[in-house]
Structure formats: C-alpha cells, structure tokens
C-alpha cells in the first residue's frame, strides 16, 4: 500500500467522520420546523449546541486534506461544482449564524425567521452533499486538462437529485435518532414518530437508489464483483491482486449495512435509542465506504473518456508531501479524537436549558 492509497483512505475517514457527526446536526436542523413551541425548539438547537461547530471542522479538515493530498480533485471538484458549492456555503453560513442569533431576541417574528433559516439551511446543505456524490457516481464531463466541461444543468439530473434527497432522508433519520438520546417526555415521543417516518422514507429511497445505481452504473460493483463485472479504465493492482478477499470484505460491509438498517427499526421499536443511533452511524459509514470502494482508484470519473478520470495518482501531490502529511496526521489525530470524545462525554445526557444555552 502506498501513500496515495493511504490518503484515499484517510480522506474517506474524514468524510465518514463528517457525515456521521455533522449528519446528525444537519438532521436536527431538518427536523427543527416540525417541533412546535419555543421551548422544544430551543431543546433541539441546544442538543447540538456544544458540538455542531466541532462537527463542521471535519468538513473543513477534509477540504484541507483533499487540497493537500489531491489538489487536482480539489480544484476540479470545487470549480466544477461552482454554484452548488456556493449555495452550500450560504446554507452553512446561514445555519451557523441562525443558531447564534436565534435566542438573542424575544420577538416571535425574530425567532421564527431564524428557525426557518436554520432549518432550510440544514436541508439545503444535506441535499447538496448528496447531489455532489450522485454526480461523482454518474461521472462528470471532465476533459483531458482535468477541467470540468459541463454546465450546471448537467449536474441537475434525476439521479443526482435522488441521491440528494436520499442524503437528506438519511441525515434526518440520523438526527432523529440523536434527538431521541437527548430528549425526554412528550418531545421524545414526538421525535420517535419522526424517526419512524424518516426511517421508512430512507428505506424506500435506499432500495430505489441502489437499484438505479446498479442499472445506470453497473461498474460501481466491479471492484468487488469477484471479477464478474468489468471495471472501466485501469484496475488498481491492489484490487486485481486481492480481488477475492476485497470482494468478500466489501460484500461484508454491504451486508452489515443491511443489518444495521434493520437494526435501526428494531432498536427504535425497543426504545433502545443508543443502538438506533449507532446503527444509523454505521449505515452512513457503510454507504460512504461502498461509494469509495466502487470508484477506487478514481476520485472523479470522467464520462468523456475514462483516461481523463482523476485517480489517486494523476491527481495527487508529490510523495514527499503525502509522507509529511501522513506524519502530521499521526501526530494530530490522537489529540483530535481524545478531546472530541471528552467533549461529547462532558455534554452527555438529556439536553437542559440554562443561562448559557442558545
């Protein structure tokens, strides 16, 4: 395994970390308008109050890591998704300041305006993440100079919109699972209903999106098809040499994902909310892992010519940078994990409103 593969893996870990962590607080935001009354809404916001900012850092760091390790992917993706990413920025900014500002004023107009901003921002951000992933699965019009040749309309295709809504349903369910841990009483009973509703929407979309993917892009399973499906472009030696074991491993993830999804429903029914949350976390991680395994060693697939695809070699930084960054990560990550876990530990338990709350 070389540094390019390691960094593909590490960027993937950062994205999984982001999707699991910010996933639930985006989900809480998506559910925000369903809750009625000032007290409930404050509980929802404060359930993520101490952690959302740290969660978003996973995105910033994933962006930085992508920039450093795979600058061409960073450049092509960010300039290629120009307007969608600006919308994403707007959504994230609005969402952040809505939380900070909402409870600073007693007026109901003020509060309900920021409530809407917070919720719409969260919904829009969730959908846009899904749209980006959907486009990468379908392949984009990337030219020989690594530049995006398509238009905005190319990105607004049926499949990408579906993956966008799928991402929203997944985060909403995940957010509801999180809220079940943080709430109690009547509000918790209400959240439980949302969790079931979101779960069923998620399951339906899960089936539809998977079927659609297999139909439109059968090569997404090439890397783990035991050699039965031909990949487009070159197969990485790691894949061709370990085809069997990697296929077993990846199908293992797919099956675990399936079980995790079942377990969400089971845990919700048994009121075991901690497990429901862990299951939806695992499921999010599994989806991203399957996506990563499907496109490997590519990072952005060109549908103009497979040779134009950006892979972990032609899009990467020099070996020296990859190595230095690897050491930086080894030094930094234990710290990050230790205080992230400590913070979640300090703020464990049901959310209560006090003088320092939003």
């Amino acid at each position: 395994m070389d540094y390019n593969v390691i960094w593909y893996f590490l960027v993937g870990v950062l994205l999984i970390g982001y999707a699991i962590l910010d996933g639930f607080d985006l989900g809480v935001g998506a559910l925000h308008l369903f809750s009625k009354g000032d007290h409930d809404r404050r509980i929802l916001m404060n359930s993520i109050g101490p952690v959302w900012d740290g969660n978003e850092v996973w995105l910033i760091t994933a962006g930085g890591a992508l920039f450093a390790a795979f600058p061409h992917v960073y450049a092509t993706a960010f300039s290629g998704f120009y307007l969608p990413f600006f919308l994403l920025l707007m959504a994230l900014i609005f969402r952040a300041v809505a939380m900070e500002f909402r409870s600073k004023e007693k007026s109901t107009v003020w509060r309900s305006t920021w409530d809407k901003v917070f919720s719409i921002g969260s919904i829009l951000a969730s959908i846009l993440f899904g749209v980006a992933i959907g486009n990468i699965i379908l392949g984009m019009k990337i030219g020989s100079d690594m530049e995006y040749k398509g238009t905005l309309l190319d990105q607004l295709n049926l499949y990408a919109i579906m993956t966008g809504i799928f991402a929203l349903s997944m985060f909403t369910m995940h957010g509801a699972n999180y809220l079940l841990i943080k709430t109690e009483g009547a509000l918790q009973r209400q959240v439980r209903k949302w969790a079931f509703n979101a779960f069923w929407v998620f399951v339906v979309l899960y089936v539809v999106v998977t079927a659609f993917t297999l139909l439109a892009k059968p090569e997404m399973v090439a890397n783990f098809s035991f050699g039965n499906v031909q990949a487009v472009g070159v197969k990485h030696p790691l894949i061709s040499e370990h085809e069997y074991i990697l296929s077993v491993f990846t199908w293992g993830i797919a099956i675990l994902n399936f079980l995790a999804v079942l377990n969400i429903h089971r845990s919700l029914s048994k009121n075991n909310y901690g497990w429901a949350f862990i299951s939806s976390s695992l499921s999010i991680g599994a989806f991203i892992a399957l996506f990563a395994m499907g496109i490997f060693p590519n990072m952005m697939v060109s549908n103009l010519d497979p040779n134009y695809s950006l892979d972990i070699y032609n899009a990467a930084s020099s070996q020296k940078t990859l190595r230095i960054m690897f050491y930086l990560a080894i030094v930094g990550v234990p710290f990050v994990l230790s205080y992230t876990i400590s913070i979640y530990w300090v703020f464990r338990g049901k959310t209560k409103i006090d003088e320092h709350s939003y």
Binding site: V57, T61, G63, G64, L66, T76, S79, F86, V346
Partner: protein, 470 residues
C-alpha cells in the same frame, strides 16, 4: 456579456476576506484577554473577574461564529475561483491548511464548547484550561494561515516540475517552507495587530459603561486589562513593523517601493508621513522624513533603495496609489495607538482615567481604528504582492479557474454581498444588544466595597431629591 473572470475573482476574494478578517483578530485577541480575566479570577477569587469573563465570552462567541462561518468561504474559494493556482501549488499550499484543521480548528471548536456551555458542568480550573486551549487554538490557526500566506509572499523550499500545463511547484523541505523568510515576522505582526484590535474593543465597551455609570466594577477592571494589552502591543508593533520592512525590502523590493511610492532608485530614500503618489507621472508628493526609509531597512540613512523603475513595468503592482495609502494609513494609525494608549496609561497612573469623560468618549469610539489599521495592513500586503499571486513565481491572471464563467463569479459576488451586508447589520445589532444588556452583575455588593457602594447610592438619592426640587 463579456466579464473578466480575473477581476471578478479578485473582487470576490478581496471582499470576502476583508469581511472575514474583521472577526479573527477579535477572536485571537479577546481569547487572550479571556485567559487573563479568568486567570485573575482563579488567582484572586474576585467575583468581578468572573462576571467579566462570562460577559466577554458572549462577545467572543458572537465574533467567533461569524469568523468560522465566513472562514469556510475562504477555504472553498481557492478551489472554486483559483483552481489553477490550487493545481499549481497544491503540493505546498494545501498542507498548512490541512495542518490548521488538524492542529487548530479541532482544538478551538472542541474547547469552545466547554468555554461557552461548560460553566456549570466542569470545575473552574478545567474551564480555565478550556479557555487557554481556545486561545491557543485561535493563535495556532493564525499561525498556519500566515504560514500559507507568507509562502505566497516569500516562496521558498520548492522546485518546479513538469512542463506546460503539467508544470507545478513541489515541496523540497517542509519546515523550510513553514518557516519561510517572512513567516515569523508576519505572524507576530498579525497577532500583535489582533491584540491591539481586541484591547480597543474591550476598552470601547468598558468606556461606554463608565460613561453610562453602569457595571462600573467590571468595566474598570476590563478597561485596564484592555488598556495594558493594547499599550504593550502598540509599543511592540513598530519594532515588528521595522523588522518586517527589512524582510520586504530584501524579498519583495517592488512591494517596498510601492509602499513609499519610490519610482527612482534613491540613496537616502525618504519616508512619507502624508502624501500621494501619481503612477502616471511616476512621482510622489507629500511630507517626508529624508533618509528615513533607508534608515528603516538598513540602519543607515545613506542606504540605496531600489525604485520601481529597476523592475519591468509588468511586475509593478497594479494600484500603487492604493498600496501607498493603505500602508501609510496603517503606519499612521499605529502611531496614533501608541499615543492614545500612552495617554490612557498615564491618566490611569494618576488615577484620573475613569473621571475623564472626554478620554472615555474617545475610547468608546476608537474601536473602529484598529479594525481599519488591520484591514489596511492586509490591503497593502496583498495588493503590494501583485501582479503575482505567488511572488516572482505565478502571476495572478494565470491562477484563475478555467472552467468558471464570469457570470457565475458575478452571481456569487452579488449573493455574497447581500448575505454579508445582512450578516453585518445583524451582527452589529446583536453586539449592541449584548453590550446594552451588559454583564450579569446583579449583586454588586459581592465585589464592590460596601462603603463605596453605599456612598454611590447616597449620591444617587441626593441627585434624585435635587432633581425633584428643580
């Protein structure tokens, strides 16, 4: 419509980063001031410091959240608008950004949770630790971002590999890249600028309370802390500025020449106090100290300083007038800060500071000046670097995204403009509200000496009676 992507992308970057850079100096400096306040509380047990720390934490939080939200924009813009730049130098430029994420942002955001919401959940000592870590995190974040920016000013430790569109810069020595020639001096200069800005913020709000005769105990203590932070920072700043100028002279001679509007190579080059430069006639007019520029960069008034004409005209910064004026604005304001804070310190030593309403009034408005100075400093540094995005290596017009159209950039500029104007006024409104609400010192007897407090009450009653009589 034929829109120039380069100009639009530059406008967008300038606008978004100037807006962003209102907030990080407040975070870096106020974070440090919070450490002082909470440290004093732990040391003395004086409730006033605790009330002050809690109050300033709220102000800190309002600045922090906008700083973070508008900061993500900056990271995105390298990829969206400057994709060619990102491809060309990503091997080098990306790593400080990633390091900022791993070493600074996680630290900052993790402990921020404890700082804001942890008062009732952890012991005062752990809370103090959290405050220290947030402050450290924001200072480290500044460190890595200045590393990245300084490398663009004085690029080192790289080689160019590949040819044509494949050409790019790769790193040869990581630590030499991090500690590039201008990095340390630019970092300290930036941090000290942030301390001045925050010191003035604390003084401004405290002065407002003192004028209004509210929260006096907290306001006096806060004012003094802000005053001393700003005073020492203002004193250090010219020394750093001087060292900085030497580095600019050595590595970015065109920028230095633009700072002073120096067209001809001059022995015994002057330093302008006030003036203007005319790039058409290639002349600069104004009040100047002869030989001072030579002295600043070499220690000798005879030293010859290279003028812009030594360099091809296409390597001159596009807006020499802007560089000249913003540089002089920064220097002028820096001098003013020394004067203002020195007067403040003097009055404080004579115990006259808090009675002098005029001085308090001036300080309550002066917070805008360091913001202006910090902005002007960055404008002169960044516009002075032009036409290079990486000095001497990559031109700005070669760095823009190829797949992005002028219409797209214009659309995003308009959207950002609307959003930021909205944000700015909401931020002012919230800040104003927080300040008017003030610290939660409902029970002043706790920390105000009982005698003084009673005396004040008696005075107020006296006034009230007098008022009725009239």
């Amino acid at each position: 419509m034929n829109l120039d992507v380069e100009i639009l992308a530059r406008i967008q970057f300038a606008f978004t980063i100037m807006f962003h850079y209102i907030f990080p100096p407040f975070t870096m400096g106020t974070g440090f001031i919070l450490v002082i306040m909470e440290g004093l509380y732990l040391k003395t047990g004086n409730k006033a410091f605790e009330v002050a720390a809690k109050f300033w934490t709220k102000i800190f939080a309002a600045n922090f959240s906008i700083g973070v939200a508008t900061g993500i924009v900056m990271e995105f813009e390298f990829g969206t608008n400057w994709a060619t730049y990102s491809r060309y130098v990503g091997d080098i430029f990306g790593s400080p950004l990633a390091a900022e994420g791993i070493f600074a942002f996680f630290l900052e955001s993790g402990f921020l949770a404890l700082l804001l919401f942890g008062w009732n959940r952890v012991t005062p000592r752990v809370h103090f630790l959290a405050t220290c870590m947030v402050s450290l995190g924001s200072l480290m974040s500044g460190f890595w971002i200045v590393v990245a920016n300084s490398w663009m000013q004085t690029p080192t430790a790289y080689e160019i590999v590949g040819e044509g569109i494949q050409a790019r810069a790769v790193i040869t020595d990581f630590w030499a890249m991090v500690f590039n020639p201008s990095m340390m001096i630019r970092y300290t200069h930036t941090i000290i600028g942030a301390f001045i800005q925050s010191g003035f913020l604390v003084m401004s709000v405290s002065a407002y309370y003192l004028i209004k005769k509210r929260h006096k105990s907290v306001a006096k203590r806060s004012f003094k802390i802000g005053l001393y932070v700003a005073f020492f920072a203002s004193l250090i700043q010219p020394i750093l500025g001087h060292e900085h100028a030497k580095v600019v002279a050595e590595y970015q001679p065109t920028k230095l020449a633009a700072f002073e509007g120096l067209y001809e190579t001059t022995e015994s080059a002057p330093l302008y106090i006030l003036g203007f430069t005319d790039p058409e006639d290639e002349k600069t007019y104004g009040i100047a100290i002869p030989g001072m520029l030579s002295f600043l960069i070499s220690g000798s008034t005879e030293h010859s300083v290279k003028g812009l004409k030594e360099f091809p005209k296409e390597d001159w910064p596009g807006s020499i007038g802007l560089v000249f004026q913003s540089y002089h604005l920064m220097v002028g304001l820096g001098t003013l800060f020394i004067l203002m804070t020195a007067i403040g310190v003097l009055l404080n030593r004579q115990r006259k500071l808090f009675e002098n309403t005029l001085v308090l009034r001036i300080f309550s408005w002066a917070v805008f000046l360091p913001v202006l100075a910090n902005q002007a400093g960055w404008v002169s540094a960044e516009v002075g670097r032009q036409p290079w995005i990486v000095y001497g290596m990559l031109r700005t017009n070669e760095a823009i995204s190829k797949s992005v159209t002028g219409e797209e950039v214009l659309t995003s500029i308009i959207l950002f403009f609307i959003l930021y104007v909205l944000l700015f006024f909401t931020w002012l409104y919230i800040l104003d509200k927080e300040i008017k609400h003030g610290p939660d010192d409902h029970d002043p007897e706790h920390f105000e000496s009982g005698y003084l407090h009673r005396a004040e009450k008696a005075q107020n009653i006296g006034k009230a009676i007098k008022g009725k009589g009239e």
